[in-house]
């Protein structure tokens, strides 16, 4: 089958993917295999152990069989896949054994991603992911269509509705550069490799992984030849052996950290290589990636909150991470990540000004939450999790050491204090700003008219002290302000309801 012609996407005919989509399916399957690797490799390992003389032959056979199945599956998927565009909808037919039909209206589309892996670049093909929004999650994936067609589809889909995202045009009505007819997109940011290195270095997860695996690395290193040689050398002059051992372990931990840093930096560069974001006609457009070029287009109205994050490592490097949170299906996931890694404070401020032109939050003074926060967290969160094991262990073992978990109480105090210090909120009457964190912190900026609902709650102690906790539900995530004065909580609620109910702008 030939690839579909690169004409109008809405031909009313069912289209097929390019035959090269088979490659995409195989690669995707391999990726899944690697991700769920351990389970998949276990039978092979078993074969390796019990296989005897001809084990390599069997392993080869097994690999060949899996490979053949994979290719066959990919070819079948390709053969059974059809798509078409009609009446503002994307229609998909797919499934090898269970036929699946899927319809996705253009107005329910949240964002569109074009991916151009290395193996597609030669043929001018891309894979296209369409993410929906609403109360159920639908994702359409077209694994291998000509770039021209993909761009045509993207244009059709995104210009389908009269865009209600042109608020900016009104605001900056004076400047001609942003009238609707503008063809040249406004550049938002282009990330240098140096910034990506910084991003890789400040990735919090790196530190967590490094900390978790340093134990293993230390073990491996203490069994290594270097260590044995070192030990032999130490044995010659005995006195300093313990110090050297400790030094060696410290060295191994630092070494682990170093390895993870390098991996994190390489990872950051590979995924974010040539990070480039532009803005045109109410839509953000981002390209990035080394092996696989990825292009995401996101209508700005879909963005619910902006989060400006700074991990403690990034704090040392004076950089921030900017998250644009889209409508999410399960709270917490925050939708597919759309963020700008490693930006300066100046950029973060500029960007938020671009987004919320009349909200000058850097000039705002944040209000603190009440100190009762620390006491209550200690009493209701830390105490149960430390006292319960302490009691159980003490009773079971009969040893006084069982009370050790209670140490958590004084130890957690500084962290709770930090969290309390970092909590802050401010509003100009139309937007909200909430800060939270320990050493690093996160600023959430959101316009009141995008709020979905508000929950105000009070415990008896809060009621007595004239305090309340506010939970502001946005379509992307929930923003919480605990232990704020009741007056403020009530004012916030009134203002949010007022803006939600009086604003004629769509929140999405």
């Amino acid at each position: 089958m030939a690839a579909p012609d690169t004409g109008s996407p809405d031909t009313g005919k069912w289209n097929r993917l390019s035959p090269f989509a088979v490659i995409h399916y195989v690669v995707k399957f391999l990726g899944a295999l690697i991700q769920h690797g351990p389970q998949a490799i276990v039978p092979l390992l078993a074969l390796l152990v019990v296989g005897g003389e001809q084990r390599w032959f069997y392993i080869g056979l097994a690999a060949a069989a899996v490979g053949a199945l994979m290719v066959a599956g990919a070819i079948l998927s390709y053969l059974r896949f059809r798509f078409r565009l009609a009446d503002g909808k994307i229609l998909i037919q797919s499934g090898v054994f269970n036929r699946k039909r899927l319809t996705l209206g253009f107005d329910r589309i949240q964002n569109i991603t074009l991916m151009e892996p290395l193996y597609f670049r030669l043929f001018g093909l891309v894979a296209m992911d369409v993410e929906s929004m609403g109360s159920s999650k639908v994702e359409v994936s077209l694994g291998g269509i000509p770039r021209v067609l993909a761009e045509e589809i993207r244009k059709t889909v995104l210009s389908h509705k009269p865009a209600h995202t042109t608020a900016r045009a009104e605001v900056e009505g004076g400047s001609e550069s942003r009238s609707e007819t503008t063809e040249a997109p406004t550049e938002i940011i282009r990330q240098s490799t140096a910034d990506l290195v910084r991003y890789g270095l400040s990735n919090n997860q790196t530190w967590i992984f490094a900390a978790m695996s340093s134990g293993i690395i230390v073990q491996v290193l203490t069994k290594s030849e270097i260590f044995i040689a070192l030990k032999a050398a130490i044995d010659l002059n005995t006195d300093n052996s313990t110090i050297l051992m400790v030094l060696f372990i410290i060295f191994s931990i630092l070494f682990t950290l170093f390895l993870f840093m390098v991996a994190s930096v390489i990872g950051a560069i590979i995924t974010n290589h040539n990070y480039h974001m532009t803005y045109l006609d109410g839509r953000f457009h981002r390209t990035r990636g080394f092996f696989e070029r990825q292009e995401v287009t996101l209508p700005e109205g879909r963005i619910q909150t902006i989060k400006i994050r700074q991990s403690w490592q990034a704090r040392l490097l004076k950089r921030f991470q900017l998250h644009l949170n889209q409508i999410a299906f399960c709270q917490g996931s925050g939708g597919k990540h759309f963020f700008i890694p490693c930006v300066t404070e100046k950029f973060a401020v500029q960007f938020s000004r671009f987004f919320y032109p009349d909200f000058d939050w850097p000039a705002m003074v944040l209000k603190k939450i009440d100190r009762m926060f620390i006491r209550k967290k200690l009493l209701w969160t830390i105490l149960p999790v430390s006292a319960l094991p302490a009691i159980i262990i003490t009773v079971v073992s009969g040893s006084i050491w069982g009370l050790l978990p209670l140490l958590l109480l004084p130890l957690s105090l500084p962290f709770l204090a930090l969290r309390w210090v970092n909590y802050g909120y401010a509003s100009d009457g139309k937007h909200g700003l909430v800060r939270e964190g320990f050493v690093g912190h996160q600023l959430t900026v959101f316009p009141f008219f995008k709020v979905q609902n508000v929950v105000l709650s009070q415990s008896p102690a809060q009621k007595k002290a004239g305090l309340a906790s506010l939970k502001i539900k946005m379509a992307s995530s929930t923003v919480k302000i605990p232990f704020m004065p009741l007056r403020d909580a009530s004012d916030w609620r009134n203002m949010m309801l007022y803006h939600v109910e009086s604003s004629r702008k769509s929140w999405m």
């Binding site: 109360s135 608020a167 409508i327 609902n453 539900k473 004629r504």
Partner: protein, 192 residues
């Protein structure tokens, strides 16, 4: 997204800056009580729960010596008896603490005897409304309304114990309001 305070020409809609104190307040809402039959469903549920608990304890009573030793003592039975009686008073307080308030453009639901909370939900953010009744509610001709907004799959507001008639009236009222808002939103978007 900006929302500058502008006046739209040719429309009576204005959006001038408002002082905090001029805003409609949610502080003194008049809450409507839930159905008087609600307390009965809760009583029945409590009776069922206590009976199930009682049966399981009596089973243990016959098979385990220590249980028999404890449960036949007055110092055990008296507090349990008080607890059972108190639990019914508690339910009364639970019912009294719950209620909803309707305004022109939003709905509020308060709940909680000790930890009190109030959910405020503007009509124009309602995605869909579910009406459901469990068997017990059906016997008493009651229904629970669940309101959903975008983001997250859990219901954002649950109003229990509405009579069938009141429940469906409230549901269609809210849905009408939500739909009305959507069309006006669409028009203003198309026009701009």
């Amino acid at each position: 997204m900006s929302d500058t305070e502008t006046e739209i020409p040719g429309s009576d809609f204005t959006n001038l800056p408002v002082e905090k104190n001029d805003l409609p307040t949610t502080d003194n809402l008049e809450f409507e009580a839930l159905s008087p039959r609600y307390i009965r469903t809760l009583y029945i549920e409590a009776v069922i729960a206590w009976v199930v608990l009682g049966i399981s304890v009596s089973l243990l009573y016959f098979f385990l010596e220590p249980v028999r030793a404890v449960t036949s003592q007055w110092w055990f039975l008296l507090p349990v008896g008080i607890l059972i009686i108190l639990s019914f008073f508690w339910l009364r307080m639970v019912v009294d603490s719950r209620g909803f308030a309707l305004r022109e453009k939003d709905i509020h639901y308060k709940s909680g005897v000790i930890w009190q909370k109030m959910v405020s939900l503007p009509f124009n953010r309602v995605q869909h409304v579910e009406r459901e009744s469990n068997p017990l509610e059906r016997i008493f001709k009651l229904s629970t309304l669940k309101f959903f907004t975008s983001g997250g799959s859990k219901a954002d507001m649950k109003i229990p114990a509405l009579s069938f008639e009141r429940g469906s009236r409230l549901r269609s009222y809210v849905l009408d309001k939500a739909a009305a808002d959507k069309t006006s939103e669409g028009q203003s978007n198309g026009g701009s």
